[in-house]
């Protein structure tokens, strides 16, 4: 034994003994030394990995032809690994030679969630400074949004925007051909200037929008007023479980990004959900009661908002691949802490599912890709949700998915609603039935129970579950309350004039009997 050790020492510090599995060569080019293992057992060298990674991004965008040339696309960055990798891919894609270049106009948005994630004001400022430096370095227009600004959102955010435009949407191929032709004309017109047209176009990209965050009154890097932050913290602290907090955070973040996109004229939003994240989200949403909406929540294209569509170009990358790519090729990230459970608080369904899937993945390396591929088979064919055949399906107030609770007798909802009625106590009982708008409850002495009941019929099943774990509706941001009120009143009004409505007309002119 000692003999072997002596030999080892004699070889000198420079030369290493080969490790048990000797360094493998790249499975693809058979030349470079392997740097990482992708999927099950495929060892790639750095160069081949880079090619594979970059190619995949363009393949995903090319396969799902939804981003049209010249379209304004907003990249939603969290500072984390996946969204930073996405940003780098967009930068690389835009800088290639003309024929193969990506053809859209990017903007960046970052939502500062430091307040609810336990960061002090100083830590938030530091993170924001780093993020802003990172965003400025790209040269694209960027917007820094604070989560507190959710209290300023308009109620229209919860309404589906007008789909597309009035003019018929050209097919993808024609759009690309048109664009290329247009570019050739531009180059021809600026003759003699040919070499300058590319930098000019890039410069055009840079000066699209004011890069300093937009509103002159509130430059992005400054923190919002302390009172606002308190309001936000109160909202989150009123939530009873970490699951509800996570769902609430996701909802507010999505609405803020959507609002930024709408007001700045962006028609697409790119989110950096990796394959791992998508698989976890799939199972988490199943557990949350969102089985009917899995395709929208995890698919490549999410068009529930109508005018702004969400795309997920990173959904075929495993989190491991993204982490390696970022490390090898120096992609900057700014990691901020996530929502944390307080001591003695149970963890969220999201965390549980992540631990479960990742634990399984460690033993069975094809777990996540199997879950992902199963999810890929789900399509977003809209279901007919009963009610009048011509009318638009009613949408959930918070998640804008089709309301799946209209046929309440068919679901297991009825027992829970009856239990709720009983819990509301003598004030609500007898006059507040499940499904009605509770107009008589306005006179009840328990305002909390009544206002909650008013929300429930507007929500889908899973949003109801989340909503029940949130605090008093008064803590909710104004836009949620105002939109809920608007819808309740409309439904009430519609009910009142129901008998005067003709079957197949729009409900604007009630006929006189």
């Amino acid at each position: 034994m000692c003999q072997a050790r002596e030999d080892y020492g004699r070889r000198g510090p420079g030369r290493r003994a080969p490790p048990p599995s000797s360094p493998r060569t790249c499975a693809k080019c058979k030349q470079g030394s392997a740097a990482l293992v992708i999927r099950v057992g495929d060892a790639f060298c750095r160069a081949c990995f880079r090619e594979y990674f970059v190619h995949k991004f363009r393949a995903v965008l090319g396969k799902n032809r939804v981003i049209f040339p010249g379209e304004k696309v907003l990249l939603a960055l969290s500072g984390g690994l996946a969204s930073s990798a996405m940003l780098r891919q967009v930068q690389e894609g835009l800088s290639r030679e003309t024929a193969k270049r990506l053809r859209f106009v990017p903007g960046l948005v970052y939502v500062d969630e430091g307040a609810v994630c336990g960061q002090s004001a100083a830590q938030r400022e530091e993170s924001l400074a780093r993020v802003e430096a990172m965003l400025q370095a790209t040269g694209f227009p960027y917007y820094l949004v604070h989560l507190e600004q959710a209290f300023d959102l308009p109620g229209s955010i919860l309404r589906r925007g007008p789909r597309g435009g009035e003019e018929p949407c050209p097919g993808y191929k024609e759009a690309v051909e048109d664009f290329i032709q247009q570019q050739r004309q531009e180059v021809a017109v600026a003759d003699g200037d040919g070499a300058a047209s590319l930098p000019r176009r890039l410069a055009g990209l840079r000066t699209q929008d004011v890069p300093a965050g937009g509103e002159p009154a509130a430059p992005g890097a400054q923190l919002p007023a302390a009172a606002r932050t308190q309001e936000l913290l109160r909202l989150f602290e009123a939530a009873e479980t970490l699951t509800a907090k996570e769902e609430l955070l996701q909802m507010l973040r999505t609405h803020l990004i959507l609002h930024t996109a709408r007001t700045r004229g962006y028609t697409k939003v790119m989110m950096g959900d990796s394959c791992t994240r998508v698989a976890v989200k799939l199972l988490t949403n199943l557990a949350l009661g969102r089985g009917a909406f899995l395709a929208m929540d995890t698919g490549f294209l999410d068009s529930r908002h109508g005018d702004v569509a969400v795309v997920r170009p990173m959904r075929e990358y495993m989190a491991k691949e993204i982490a390696f790519y970022n490390h090898f090729f120096g992609v900057p990230t700014v990691i901020t802490p996530a929502l944390r459970a307080k001591r003695r608080e149970k963890t969220s369904i999201h965390r549980l599912m992540e631990d479960f899937l990742l634990g399984l993945q460690a033993e069975f390396p094809s777990t996540i890709s199997t879950v992902y591929r199963t999810g890929e088979k789900l399509s977003t064919a809209p279901a007919e949700v009963g009610s009048e055949p011509g009318a638009e399906p009613q949408l959930c107030l918070l998640c804008l998915c089709a309301l799946d609770t209209l046929a309440e007798e068919d679901l297991a909802l009825e027992p829970t609603l009856i239990a709720e009625e009983a819990a509301q106590g003598p004030a609500g009982d007898g006059c507040c039935h499940a499904g009605t708008q509770g107009s008589c409850c306005r006179s009840s002495p328990t305002p909390g129970a009544e206002s909650r009941a008013a929300f429930l019929p507007l929500l889908c099943y899973s949003c109801r579950l989340t909503f029940k774990e949130l605090g008093h509706p008064d803590t909710l941001p104004p836009y949620v309350r105002s939109e809920a009120q608007r819808r309740s009143r409309r439904a009430e009004m519609k009910q009142q004039i129901q008998e005067f409505l003709l079957e197949d007309d729009d409900d604007e002119d009630p006929s006189e009997s």
Partner: protein, 121 residues
């Protein structure tokens, strides 16, 4: 040679000789991707491992890290013998799966990097 080998086990190797063979020069452990939050926000750690009779491997290193470097909530970094699923380990910028994972024997001037891909990153 054979006689020399037979004689070896009877001799007690001198303690100083053992130490020379199983000491590693100070090397760096880096933490990224959010995992640095478990290490007081510090990304780069220069460590000098104490001498011990067996060579250092990743398994031992993890135990040492748990006892000496992890400031809070060790269950967020480690699970049993190994790292928590979702935390990647790179040895000299290469996937540890290519190097034997926990059984890889650390050598001089090695560089170990932990990247967290978990929630919050």
């Amino acid at each position: 040679m054979i006689s020399a080998e037979n004689k070896r086990p009877l001799q007690t190797p001198s303690p100083s000789a053992l130490r020379v063979r199983h000491t590693l020069t100070p090397f760096s452990i880096n933490v990224e991707g959010g995992a640095e939050l478990l290490f007081d926000g510090v990304k780069k750690h220069q460590v000098t491992l104490p001498c011990q009779p067996e060579p250092w491997d990743i398994r031992n290193l993890l135990q040492w890290i748990k006892q000496n470097l992890l400031k809070e909530r060790p269950e967020l970094f480690m699970q049993g013998d190994s790292v928590r699923p979702g935390i990647l380990v790179l040895i000299n910028d290469a996937d540890w799966e290519l190097m034997g994972e926990l059984d890889y024997k650390l050598q001089d001037q090695d560089n170990v990097l932990f990247i967290s891909t978990l929630h919050g990153g």
